[in-house]
């Protein structure tokens, strides 16, 4: 089954100085409060983070639900904002695949792919030999996922005490944490260019198409960075 030594080694990534717990906590507290405000009960809010565990997707769901969008529209909006998970998965799973490991681990643990767990794994996978990386990853994923669920509960229960200024403060924590993690991940030309071009082209494409800006900007920036890296 799962090797507990590597599982806990991964699980422990939620504490320490580069812990994602604070950032995840802040953003899912905000989600918990938001879900309560749009009429979800506690069980439904927990169920939502438990099953989705992707922040932009949950925000889109809440927005669409508020304006009374149809189910098919909600599906398309969420699918579109979360398609970034596809290249993220393809850029992660080949590093974890090992013949001796059962397939179900990969099918289940891909649920943990979200920005914070992904960045931690990408920054640390080389510290674990390939055979055990999937168990290490399940540990990281379980730790961050449980943090998100616990924070959703706290946010739901605390929503009456969170004023507008506190909500705005909470909302900046996530982009700040991700920006710092990205700056920390910059270590070769291809990655540096990918990050810098993505940060420029993503917002630039917003003027062309707000819904597609992340995909257009991300795919074009990544492709340019890849070819510059190849020919350099």
């Amino acid at each position: 089954m799962i090797n507990s030594k590597y599982f806990f080694q991964g699980f422990k990534s939620i504490k320490g100085l580069d812990s994602p717990a604070l950032a995840l906590g802040a953003s899912f507290i905000a989600i918990g409060a938001l879900l309560k405000n749009i009429g979800f009960n506690l069980e439904q809010s927990i169920f939502s983070t438990f099953l989705t565990y992707a922040l932009p997707g949950s925000l889109v769901m809440a927005e669409s639900f508020l304006v009374g969008a149809s189910l098919i529209n909600i599906f398309l909006a969420v699918w579109l904002v979360n398609t970034r998970l596809y290249p993220m998965t393809v850029a992660l799973m080949p590093l974890l695949l090992h013949k001796s490991q059962p397939r179900w681990k990969y099918y289940l643990s891909c649920h943990f792919i979200a920005v914070s767990a992904w960045l931690i794994m990408k920054n640390n996978y080389q510290t674990v030999e390939k055979k055990h990386r999937i168990d290490f990853w399940i540990g990281i994923g379980a730790g961050t996922w449980l943090t998100a669920i616990a924070s959703t509960i706290i946010g739901f229960l605390a929503s009456d005490y969170l004023n507008k200024d506190m909500m705005i403060g909470l909302a900046i924590v996530n982009p700040v944490y991700f920006t710092c993690m990205m700056v920390g991940a910059m270590k070769n030309l291809q990655i540096n260019l990918s990050i810098i071009l993505g940060a420029i082209l993503g917002p630039a494409f917003f003027f062309v198409s707000p819904e597609w800006s992340i995909l257009y900007g991300g795919v074009s920036a990544g492709t340019i960075a890849y070819f510059i890296g190849v020919f350099k």
Partner: protein, 110 residues
């Protein structure tokens, strides 16, 4: 009310399915991709770019409560936090903690 709550459950299920789909298809595609291949390196670049695009969008064109703050204030908070991150030898707790307090204070008193 019961119709409303079964509707919420359906919304949650659809949202989670739409999210899991990209993760699952990613795993299926990964089975044929070697980590040393060009395709992997290309996807690696795209993954980082897409994330950078997403994060930049959160700062420049935020949704929800963050949209009520001024863009210059948001940029200042992000830059100050990254500077603190680099200054503290890549400690992530200080900048994240500082950013929330800084933004709430500046937004309220400036």
């Amino acid at each position: 009310m019961s119709e409303m709550s079964s509707n919420i459950v359906l919304v949650i299920l659809i949202t989670s399915f739409a999210t899991y789909l990209s993760r699952f298809l990613g795993v299926i595609s990964s089975e044929k991709i070697k980590e040393t291949s060009k395709v992997f390196k290309w996807f690696n670049c795209i993954a980082y770019s897409v994330l950078a695009a997403l994060i930049a969008r959160m700062v420049f064109f935020p949704a929800g409560d963050l949209a009520e703050s001024d863009i210059l204030i948001r940029l200042f908070v992000v830059i100050a936090s990254v500077a603190l991150f680099l200054f503290t030898k890549k400690n992530l707790v200080y900048p994240t903690f500082l950013s929330a307090i800084l933004l709430a204070l500046i937004n309220n008193y400036l």
